[in-house]
């Protein structure tokens, strides 16, 4: 009968590799961020709240690019807008819509501040427009 414990190293090797492969493949299961998910963590974690996960794809179902990138003045590069909670409360950036009129208001902190700790500001998805070496 096949008993791995009584076998030599030669037959143990495949079994050990099998176990290792399972562990490695499971721990490296794919990260499935949606294309154009944006992490904003320039200020959030330093201020003691979760990083913001901004779903760009969600917003473009409801607004054309020009609304945020022309009317609201969002620069088109991640990290180039100094978005603070004070400015938002003042009706700028997200606060232009998230005011209980156009969209739900700012009492729902955790809908935006919903990210895992330690995330870096940047755009996620298959490809990024962040500079050389992304492709």
């Amino acid at each position: 009968m096949f008993n791995p414990l009584k076998n030599t190293n030669r037959t143990m090797t495949p079994l050990a590799l099998f176990v290792v492969a399972i562990i490695v493949l499971l721990s490296a299961s794919p990260v499935l961020a949606e294309y154009a998910d944006v992490v904003l963590n320039r200020h959030a974690e330093a201020e003691g709240v979760r990083p913001v996960i901004y779903p760009h794809w969600f917003h473009r179902i409801r607004f054309r690019c020009k609304v945020c990138h022309h009317e609201l003045g969002f620069q088109m590069k991640v990290g180039s807008n100094d978005i603070t909670m004070a400015a938002i409360l003042d009706g700028k950036f997200c606060g232009m819509c998230h005011n209980d009129e156009t969209a739900w208001g700012l009492e729902h902190c955790h809908r935006c501040h919903s990210g895992l700790p330690g995330l870096k500001t940047g755009i996620r998805g298959d490809n990024k427009a962040g500079g050389p070496g992304d492709y």
Partner: protein, 194 residues
């Protein structure tokens, strides 16, 4: 029992190893698929402990019924807009003007690749003129110095394509005009009926 040669043993071991790794691979392909029922639970971004985690709309729900693409969000955004499947707002400020420009350009400085047909219409249905002009694209044709390398670095077209619009793996969607059959002039093209 016949004594197996070392070579036979070696082959058997390799076969065993192959079969086991194959099983391991299959198992691991299915386990994340089971977890991926809620895409946010395993996306490396959202914190499942967040108090509003369950309130957030998931992309699979948001994109249900949208025309399907093979890349990016797997949504044909321009088609979704034209077919009226989505009706994104054009403005918040009441006096913003909407300017749709139906004008194609053909860019011919493409090396060995097909020429690029750039449709203003598809872009102005989403964007304002000021989003692209005069930075990064000067209005005068042929003066912006567009290079594929710069696009790959996130400049010019790469500001959006590769980040939020269809990615740069889709060469032929832009490089769509075959040089050996193109008889026109570069730059502004006669308006086509859509």
């Amino acid at each position: 029992m016949a004594i197996r040669s070392k070579k036979t043993q070696w082959v058997e071991n390799k076969l065993l190893l192959f079969v086991l790794l194959w099983i391991a691979g299959s198992v691991c392909c299915f386990v994340p698929a089971a977890n991926a029922k809620d895409v946010f639970a395993n996306d490396g971004l959202h914190d499942p402990q967040g108090p509003s985690f369950n309130e957030l709309q998931r992309p699979d729900a948001a994109f249900a019924g949208f025309p399907v693409d093979s890349v990016g969000n797997k949504v044909r955004w321009v088609q979704a807009l034209r077919d009226g499947i989505i009706t994104p707002r054009t403005n918040i400020v009441p006096d913003t003007t909407i300017k749709i420009l139906d004008m194609d350009l053909i860019l011919g400085n493409t090396g060995d690749n097909a020429y690029v047909r750039f449709p203003h219409r598809a872009h102005t249905e989403w964007l304002d003129c000021a989003n692209c002009h005069p930075d990064p694209f000067k209005e005068k044709f042929g003066t912006s110095g567009i290079k594929m390398g710069a696009i790959l670095e996130g400049k010019f077209c790469g500001k959006c394509h590769g980040a939020v619009a269809f990615p740069l793996t889709e060469c032929a969607r832009c490089h769509s005009v075959k040089p050996d059959t193109f008889r026109g002039k570069f730059g502004v093209q006669p308006v086509e009926k859509h």
